[in-house]
């Protein structure tokens, strides 16, 4: 939904109004008395504090929070729409996952998050503060924090001086200054509760070296924060660290006009007939690998021409919000489980010993010929489309989305990067087939990985079935972590290197959807405007949806998704697909994880619906009740140092 500008600035307007009015009243009434009867120092100090408050407030409001500009189209020219949604990177020994931002078209750096209000990715995203009508991120967190501290000080001073004034004038309660002081005391007393609380909260955050987003989403509940430098160093860094430069205007650094070089004639031997501006090769990994198109290095290729038959599988959420990642960030601060916020899925640190990728592969696709899973209201269970740590449940038809695999030029293209490679756009066919086959097995246990993967050509049937039941074929664009680790292992030559997976041009966000994000000038870079497909294909259920569905409670579908640990079954199907040797497949110490092979689908769900349990995880209910409002992944989200 598009927020009107007026609504957005209203809280900031009120904040400014209250601040200025109360400060002015304070200076005019009680402060004058203090100046005349006590000392000039009081108004002077108050003036300094007020100035500080206003300066910090202004900076927090108007300073660029550390926005990372959108990537230009040519950065992500990978035609392979199976590029993974996540990329792993090791930071100080902890694996952190970087999520592909559909709006901004790059993999979000660690601690970066996409703000749905501002519709931009912000570095070290803290939160979006409505009172300053700005994101709080790397560049302006210090000013926001100092604003809170100085405002607390200012409010304490106003409160105490006004109270003293009142006490001194308690025999003249009907006079204007006294009445004003009384109002000031009341108002400031009431408002001081949230302000002091927030200031204290941020003091703790600064000491721990966390952001609000990380704290609320419980990223580091396990205890280890790879971004922390120690309490003292955290405080110093937060308050006295370098002021990072804004990236919004690179011309400030490189000059308005790009420097003109003199290209010698030897560099001009370009066979223009052979080379077109369309032919660029994006190669992004440290290992120097090509994109895997089989033609070896040095081969150019045309930019992706998106198949026109590819349906625009726009999620309802997307059309409602207009911004792909909107739901992600709207719920960021209210999500209470570890995989929820975009922050968490962007760069959550996962324990190397825990495998959290398996659930991505837990597609639950309701076969069209089965009434199973149809819920009143058209809900039906769906597979988890996101990574293991943040299974997103789509409980409504509308949230199913995905690319029509059949519509792609190569609907049954095999996975390139090895089994289980997850793309940013959709599920690999074999896994769709696998799940379809699993589903069609009439709720029996899923077959072994080999059987499942050997099933072929069911992707078409799957799509048909989905449509028949009113669903939209979804891109199960979630690379399981384990699988991704596999992929990383294949490609990455060094421990620190990571492979940027193939970009996905055909899921370029339609900029018009984004509520005003700039239109990609595809013509200039050779892109066909048909390429402007909504990026729904890459989008998985938002954490908000998942959370809300989680909180619904009674819905078996919802509850099914909740215990992540359930999904980490060691059964061959999941293990073979989604375990990574790089990460020991231990998921969680909970008992129910390890002794129950979990078909991610029907049997469980049936149990939740009160039907006969085929394979039921009793612990699912337990874990549900244990953490009704806390993080869904509280149990399983642990970071080992």
């Amino acid at each position: 939904m598009v927020r009107c500008k007026g609504t957005k600035v209203l809280p900031a307007f009120f904040a400014w109004a209250i601040l200025l009015i109360t400060t002015a009243l304070f200076f005019y009434f009680p402060c004058m008395w203090f100046y005349e009867n006590v000392s000039i120092l009081i108004p002077l100090c108050e003036a300094v504090v007020t100035l500080f408050v206003i300066a910090n407030f202004s900076l927090a409001t108007f300073m660029d929070a550390g926005v990372i500009p959108k990537a230009s189209p040519d950065e992500d020219k990978d035609d392979d729409f199976r590029a993974p949604l996540y990329k792993n990177v090791d930071i100080n020994g902890v694996t952190v996952r970087m999520k592909w931002c559909v709006t901004c078209q790059f993999y979000r750096p660690p601690r970066c998050s996409h703000c749905s209000v501002c519709n931009k990715c912000v570095e070290t995203f803290d939160h979006h503060c409505p009172w300053v009508n700005n994101c709080i991120g790397r560049r302006n967190y210090r000013y926001f924090f100092l604003f809170l501290i100085s405002l607390s000080l200012h409010m304490a001073a106003v409160f105490s001086f006004s109270t003293y004034f009142l006490i001194q004038h308690k025999d003249r309660l009907t006079q204007v200054p006294t009445v004003v002081s009384l109002c000031l005391v009341t108002l400031v007393g009431i408002l001081s509760v949230p302000v002091f609380g927030l200031a204290g909260f941020h003091v703790v955050l600064v000491a721990r070296g966390r952001t609000t987003n990380e704290q609320v989403t419980g990223k580091f509940r396990g205890g280890f924060n790879p971004f922390s430098r120690g309490c003292g160093a955290n405080c110093c860094y937060a308050l006295c660290g370098p002021q990072f430069a804004s990236l919004a205007q690179p011309t400030r650094y490189v000059g308005r006009k790009p420097h003109r070089y003199t290209f010698s004639s030897t560099t001009n031997n370009i066979h223009n007939s052979d080379v077109s501006p369309d032919q660029v090769k994006v190669y992004l990994n440290s290992g120097g690998h090509t994109k895997g198109n089989g033609t070896g290095p040095g081969v150019t290729y045309n930019k992706l021409q998106l198949s026109p038959s590819r349906p625009a599988a726009i999620s309802m959420m997307e059309t409602r919000n207009g911004i792909v990642d909107d739901m992600d960030d709207e719920m960021e601060l209210t999500e209470f489980y570890n995989g929820a916020g975009s922050q968490s899925v962007d760069c959550e640190a996962s324990p190397p010993s825990l495998q959290r990728g398996g659930s991505k592969s837990n597609f639950f696709v309701v076969p069209a010929n089965s009434s199973y899973g149809m819920r009143p209201g058209g809900e039906f269970g769906q597979s988890d489309m996101n990574d293991s740590s943040s299974p997103r449940r789509m409980t409504t038809v509308q949230t199913l989305r995905g690319p029509n695999v059949r519509g792609s030029p190569h609907p049954f293209r095999a996975n390139r990067g090895g089994e289980g490679q997850r793309s940013r756009s959709h599920t690999p066919d074999d896994l769709l087939n696998a799940d379809a086959a699993a589903m069609g097995m009439n709720f029996s246990r899923p077959q072994s990985i080999h059987d499942v993967q050997n099933s072929s050509n069911t992707g078409t049937n799957l799509q048909q079935r989905l449509r028949a039941i009113g669903g939209v074929p979804t891109p199960f664009a979630v690379p399981p972590r384990g699988v991704y680790a596999d992929y990383s292992r294949q490609r990455s030559a060094t421990s620190t290197g990571y492979v940027q997976e193939h970009g996905n041009n055909d899921y370029r966000v339609d900029s018009s959807i984004g509520g005003g994000s700039p239109t990609y000038d595809y013509s200039s870079s050779g892109y066909n405007s048909r390429l402007q497909q909504p990026a729904a294909q890459r989008r998985v259920n938002s954490e908000g949806e998942l959370l809300s569905s989680y909180h619904r409670g009674d819905d078996g579908v919802m509850n099914y998704s909740m215990p992540m640990t359930e999904r980490r079954s060691p059964d061959t199907y999941h293990e073979a697909l989604y375990s990574s040797p790089g990460r020991p497949g231990v998921y969680s110490p909970t008992a129910h994880v390890n002794n129950r092979p979990i078909p991610m689908n029907t049997p469980y769900r049936m149990m939740e619906n009160g039907q006969q349990d085929l394979v039921g995880p009793p612990s699912a209910k337990q874990s549900r009740s244990q953490a009704p409002t806390s993080s869904v992944y509280e149990v399983n989200y642990e970071i080992s140092v």
Partner: protein
């Protein structure tokens, strides 16, 4: 809100940089996050540049860039002083430097920019990087048919190296 400008590649206009034709290849060097969120690029030599440039030169360029960025992000006495000074002036210098406000006039902006260049460490480092890249391009890369694009133009996410070569392109492999 309607978009106000087209999202174009910052390096689309190669003719402005003196290139006779658009690059045949672009190589993107990604960030290295192994040490945290500080700005650092992977010093690994990309295979596309094999034969086009000496490995040592490339690594020198990249390591120097990493050093300059590290200096920008280092918490040092000067950065503390910068913070204190800004605080004492009630952040006037920051207010002037990078707010969302439109500058009143270009003259004011020039004055403030020049003043701020002396003060802001990060700003200095980014300008240093820009100068270094220009110098490297002129001396090393452009003569070899390469062009380094300042990562700041890409939001400090990647270093873009454009390859202007006469590689006869084989039949473009059409991706699925």
């Amino acid at each position: 809100m309607a978009s106000k400008k087209k999202q174009t590649t910052p390096t689309d206009d190669f003719s402005a940089r003196g290139a006779p034709a658009p690059p045949t290849q672009k190589v993107f060097i990604q960030r290295d996050y192994s040490e945290g969120t500080q700005v650092r690029f992977q010093p690994k030599f990309p295979s596309e540049l094999e034969g086009k440039i000496e490995r040592e030169k490339f690594e020198y360029t990249l390591n120097t860039l990493n050093e300059v960025y590290a200096e920008a992000e280092k918490m040092s006495c000067s950065s503390c002083c910068e913070g204190c000074f800004a605080c004492l002036t009630a952040y006037l210098l920051y207010c002037c430097s990078d707010t969302h406000f439109e500058k009143a006039s270009s003259l004011t902006e020039m004055f403030l920019s020049s003043f701020l260049t002396l003060i802001l460490i990060c700003l200095q480092c980014l300008k240093k990087v820009a100068k270094f890249i220009i110098e490297q391009n002129e001396r090393v890369y452009v003569p070899r048919g390469l062009l380094i694009i300042d990562p700041v133009e890409r939001g400090l996410r990647v270093i873009e190296i454009c390859i202007f070569s006469d590689n006869p392109a084989s039949t473009p492999a059409r991706n699925n």
